[in-house]
């Protein structure tokens, strides 16, 4: 069963070849066996999962099952989940049993999906290696001495080791796409506003967006169908007609099913700057994937995103500024950690926050507080917002010349645990290809495109606003003629 896609599991459940209870048990056993070495899950609660599975089987027996009814899924620990510990990877929420469900969780619950557990992540989603989690680093199933990427590192490792058939992630600067690339998964960050942020613990509200992580584009489409939709509780949720992303995936027909598709190749993605450039090994795999797309009928056009190099600096002003505001709510008063000893109220706040937040979160709060403070606001925050506009405009110009933009997701394959942990700037540069997409609010994907020295690499697909269905279809066509996404790491059978 574990080699099955979500779509295949859905069919097996519908055909009564397996029950949700049996399927959930199978995955819970795998988690019990492998999680101690991978550390992909922060919380597992077999009793709760099995209760949901029984309810799903019940729904099926009365003929009310949908495509995800009874499917066990791993949920990133950033989604508030009623009755479940929801830590966001932080000590400050180490005792937070959420009293309510995030919109995404509500959607999966109504669809009858089963929560297998809450996955490990960088603290408050601030990181690119999962090493900032208070609950320990996650090991990449492809090489246990390497990081799975971040911040959705637990979700990525769980799906890669097949401890869950699929998972949710969130992406503020690459946190779905980069771990998907490093763990050989397909991950999609939708257009900003497509998935509700209600109950998704906020990091940088103008950039945060949730999306699916799975083996294939087909499975991502199935999950996105349940995740997407208008929600009046999120003031930036977009009120748009519902789409059926699965129905829009087309079967590969004819010799050149992608004839006419114009792929934009930004020269800034294919540069060789030694600090920010892509490793030649990854670039070779990206080139091979592009050759495969040409075989499918696509043509490529050279484009430019001239302000691309400014995306990392602008992001490290905007995201910390928003984070410093969002994270002011963690004050040890209404929920979460409170320092055991303090004098006055200020000391209670300052100690609870000093003890409850990790080093990277504190750094970002301090940067954010500084760039928003009197005398620096114009030079940093406003300047970053102006540059954000220039970056978004670059994409508008690019999409007048092409239908989709492609390039590497990450400049390298998975790096070693500890390799970049001491140098925040080095770590920040691992998101050099993904961050601009969040600043512009565009949809982006990463799909598996091959291996170098046994480690997976990802091809990034960037689409125009609301082109999720098109992106998924473009990814799906590639996956019907290649087998990279079907490769699994050894040792987890």
């Amino acid at each position: 069963m574990i080699e099955h896609s979500v779509s295949a599991l859905s069919q097996a459940l519908a055909a009564r070849k397996i029950s949700s209870v049996e399927l959930t048990q199978l995955y819970l056993e795998r988690i019990a066996r492998h999680n101690p070495t991978i550390n992909a899950f922060i919380t597992v609660d077999a009793e709760k999962s099995l209760a949901q599975a029984r309810a799903a089987d019940q729904l099926r027996s009365i003929g009310q099952a949908g495509p995800l009814t009874g499917i066990p899924l791993a949920q990133k620990d950033i989604f508030c989940t009623r009755g479940w510990l929801t830590t966001c990877g932080s000590k400050i929420l180490g005792n937070f049993i959420s009293p309510y469900d995030a919109c995404v969780i509500e959607h999966f619950n109504s669809a009858g999906a089963v929560i297998l557990g809450k996955t490990n992540m960088d603290e408050f989603a601030m990181g690119s290696s999962n090493e900032t989690s208070y609950y320990g680093a996650v090991n990449n199933p492809w090489d246990m001495e390497r990081v799975p990427g971040g911040s959705s590192g637990g979700s990525a490792a769980a799906v890669a080791a097949r401890l869950a058939p699929a998972a949710t992630g969130t992406d503020t600067g690459g946190s779905i796409r980069q771990p998907a690339a490093l763990c050989n998964l397909t991950g999609l960050k939708p257009t900003y506003g497509v998935v509700s942020r209600y109950g998704m613990i906020a990091f940088a509200s103008s950039l945060d967006q949730a999306g699916p992580m799975a083996h294939s584009a087909e499975d991502c489409a199935l999950l996105l169908n349940t995740m997407a939709g208008f929600d009046e509780r999120d003031s930036t949720s977009l009120d748009r007609p519902r789409e059926d992303f699965s129905a829009q995936l087309k079967a590969a027909t004819g010799e050149k099913p992608l004839a006419g598709l114009k792929i934009g190749l930004p020269k800034e993605f294919f540069g060789t700057d030694e600090r920010s450039g892509c490793s030649p090994e990854v670039m070779q795999l990206v080139e091979a994937a592009l050759a495969e797309y040409r075989k499918l009928g696509a043509e490529s056009v050279d484009i430019s995103l001239p302000n691309m190099k400014l995306s990392v600096p602008a992001y490290y002003v905007i995201a910390p500024a928003e984070a410093s505001s969002n994270l002011s709510r963690f004050d040890g008063v209404r929920y979460g950690y409170r320092a055991p000893e303090y004098g006055d109220l200020n000391e209670m706040y300052a100690r609870s926050r000093a003890q409850g937040f990790g080093a990277e979160v504190k750094r970002r709060i301090l940067i954010g507080t500084y760039v928003l403070s009197h005398g620096y606001y114009d030079a940093y925050y406003l300047q970053a917002q102006r540059i954000r506009r220039l970056i978004a405009n670059d994409f508008v110009a690019a999409f007048s010349q092409c239908d989709v933009i492609m390039g590497p997701t990450s400049p390298s394959t998975a790096f070693k645990l500890g390799e970049k942990a001491a140098d925040p700037v080095q770590m920040y540069l691992s998101d050099i290809y993904t961050i601009a997409v969040n600043l512009a609010g565009l949809p982006g994907m990463s799909i598996p495109c091959g291996f170098c020295k046994g480690l997976p690499a990802g091809l990034q697909l960037i689409g125009d606003y609301f082109s999720e269905a098109r992106l998924l279809d473009i990814a799906h066509r590639y996956q019907t003629v290649t087998g990279w996404h079907l490769q699994h790491p050894a040792g987890f059978d």
Binding site: E232, S235, T236, Y335, G343, I365, L366
Partner: protein, 95 residues
């Protein structure tokens, strides 16, 4: 530009995060590294460029001014560090 230790302490105070002297020193080094990266923005002429706060041009939606939430005070206070008689307890602020 580079930050001073005094600025780090000031910002930490504004953010309500207690920092020891050793932490302030280490933080100063890291922040200066990050600001070196950020400084690349300063060379760009952005005169006349409209700041972009958001990916979508949205107007704030309005809703009818009525109660939509049920009262779940007991649930919410069950997870609070300290409560009494339905109130959240903190150190005395006003004498």
């Amino acid at each position: 530009m580079s930050l001073t230790l005094e600025q780090v302490r000031r910002v930490a105070h504004l953010a309500r995060i207690e920092v020891s002297d050793a932490e302030a020193e280490a933080t100063l080094g890291h922040l200066n590294g990050i600001f070196t990266l950020i400084e690349a923005m300063q060379a760009v002429d952005t005169r006349g460029v409209e700041p972009m706060a958001h990916a979508q041009d949205l107007a704030q939606r309005l809703r009818p001014d009525c109660v939509t939430e049920e009262n779940r005070r007991a649930d919410f206070q069950a997870i609070a560090p300290e409560t009494e008689a339905g109130l959240y307890l903190v150190p005395k602020v006003i004498e």
